[in-house]
Amino acid sequence: MEKSNINKQALLDFLKDGKRFDGRKENEFRELTIEYPVSNKAEGSVRVRLGKTEVIAGIKMSVGEPYPDSQDSGNLMVTAELTPMSNSDYEPGPPSIESIELGRIIDRGVRESKFIDLQKLCIREGELVWNIFIDLYSVNADGNLLDACAIAAISALKVAKIPKMDGDKVLFGEWTDKNVPLTDTMPFVITFHKIGNKLIVDPTYSEEEVSTGRLTIGISVGKEERIHSMQKGKPEPMTVEEVEFCVDEAEKKAKELKTKIDKLLK
């Protein structure tokens, strides 16, 4: 369905009263569910639902040479696909800019927060390290894929197990009971959308369609809160107060999500 001027105006009017079409408040997330595993061939895989949005994160590992500038660390690679099956607006073909941006934002969050202790993924310095791949797929895209994918990536890493090795060879399909070495800093991504002069979290697809500005904040919560990444998207500028509001809210939301995830993954 094409965008209509009606809903754009209606959303603005509703938000003036602090209401959204599904009854949520501006700072409310939809119901979160986490299921795993999705694939018994993955080192770890998780299906996350945020309202009707559904995404899958899968972790695969292999071994190889380290990068020249990180001889003592494992390698991390994050890819994302906004699949055509998840929304009629996504076309098959090479990765869209949205897919690329999503993958890179999640990558920055995971990498800069040092959530994965990449040095512990070093087998022999300068020669052999673990490669860890996080692949993200949308199954039903009803808004806020970014935040949902971050939750999925974190959860998948938490449940993943390291494959067995025979000397320097990985025995794909066989696992040790060792978890991926993780630190305490869970790198969430909280995205804010500007509609009118209101800022909402966890937008549905139709809310995203009418938003004019977007600010994504990668923030990790654990022993302390640290911002690891930020990305402003869409053309509408934001005031300094709006950015500060987002950063403060992001901390609150990330803490709420951490509590939820810890409970769901028990």
Binding site: M1, E2, K3, S4, N5, I6, N7, K8, G23
Partner: protein, 259 residues
């Protein structure tokens, strides 16, 4: 054929719906070896001589005479291109706009993103011709636009518009339901607008259940109580637009019969 938990016989393509060789194959069926076979997923409608399948899913199939809600996607030299959410695009010629339109002023009347309630005049390979030159067909302003599965619209409208009236008399909102599944809701109170959407979604999800009007009334009464509001009965003269819908519901009255 088998009855499912929703009490109506749902059939799948390829399923035999009647072995009675005197029956005639109606819509979404075909005859083979003297038997009537379904060619679409839906519920069986045995009208006596003719058996047809009423679809319960799938995209809207445009028909001449249907009233639909369209969104303007482009403006040409002689009209507006419309999205009516189906497999072909719609076109509203400037001649079919209810006011005189100067060739240079198309945008003054309808801009991209504007919403109209229009009638399908013809379904051609190159597109669907629309008109607004009939009583009740209007440019839709304000309110909220939602998308409902087009196959459930007859239920949302109800026999002679009865379901819409039931919802309207509870929430006071004006409801215009396009046969293509787009529905416009407008009221004075945001909570009542949201309640209207909830009621429509309820009908959509329970479309195959019998006694649906009672269930909807029950739901609306409970919700109004929770919101602390009274039912907003609307006088008959004010319910414009809905009178047009009753002629649509004639084609699809079989689902409304369950009331």
């Amino acid at each position: 054929m088998s009855k499912d938990k929703n009490e109506r016989a749902i059939v799948v393509p390829g399923e035999i719906v009647s072995e009675d060789s005197s029956k005639l194959p109606g819509e979404n069926t075909y005859k083979e070896n003297g038997k009537i076979v379904a060619s679409r997923f839906g519920v069986v409608d045995d009208l006596g001589k003719v058996i047809k399948i009423v679809p319960i899913s799938g995209v809207y199939e445009p028909r001449r005479g249907n009233n639909v809600i369209g969104i303007v996607t482009d403006i040409t030299f002689n009209g507006w291109l419309m999205d009516i959410d189906c497999s072909a695009g719609g076109f509203l010629p400037l001649m079919d706009y209810p006011r005189f339109v100067n060739k240079n002023d198309l945008e003054e009347h309808l801009r991209i993103g504007d919403v109209v309630y229009a009638k399908i005049m013809g379904v051609k390979k190159k597109g669907i011709d629309l008109t607004m030159k009939q009583r009740g067909l209007i440019k839709i302003e304000g309110g909220i636009l939602i998308k409902v599965n087009a196959q459930k619209i007859p239920r949302v409208i109800g026999k002679e518009g009865s379901m819409i009236m039931t919802i309207r008399n509870a929430t006071g909102c004006r409801i215009i339901a396009g046969q293509n599944g787009l529905v416009s809701i407008r009221g004075e109170d945001k909570d009542l607008e949201l309640l209207t959407i909830k009621a429509i979604r309820f009908v959509e999800e329970n479309s195959l259940t019998s006694g649906l009007t009672d269930k909807v009334t029950e739901m609306l009464t409970a919700e109004l109580k929770r919101l602390g509001k009274k039912p907003q009965i609307v006088p008959q003269e004010e319910s414009f637009g809905e009178a047009e819908e009753s002629s649509e519901s004639k084609d699809n009255k079989t689902e409304g019969d369950e009331e």
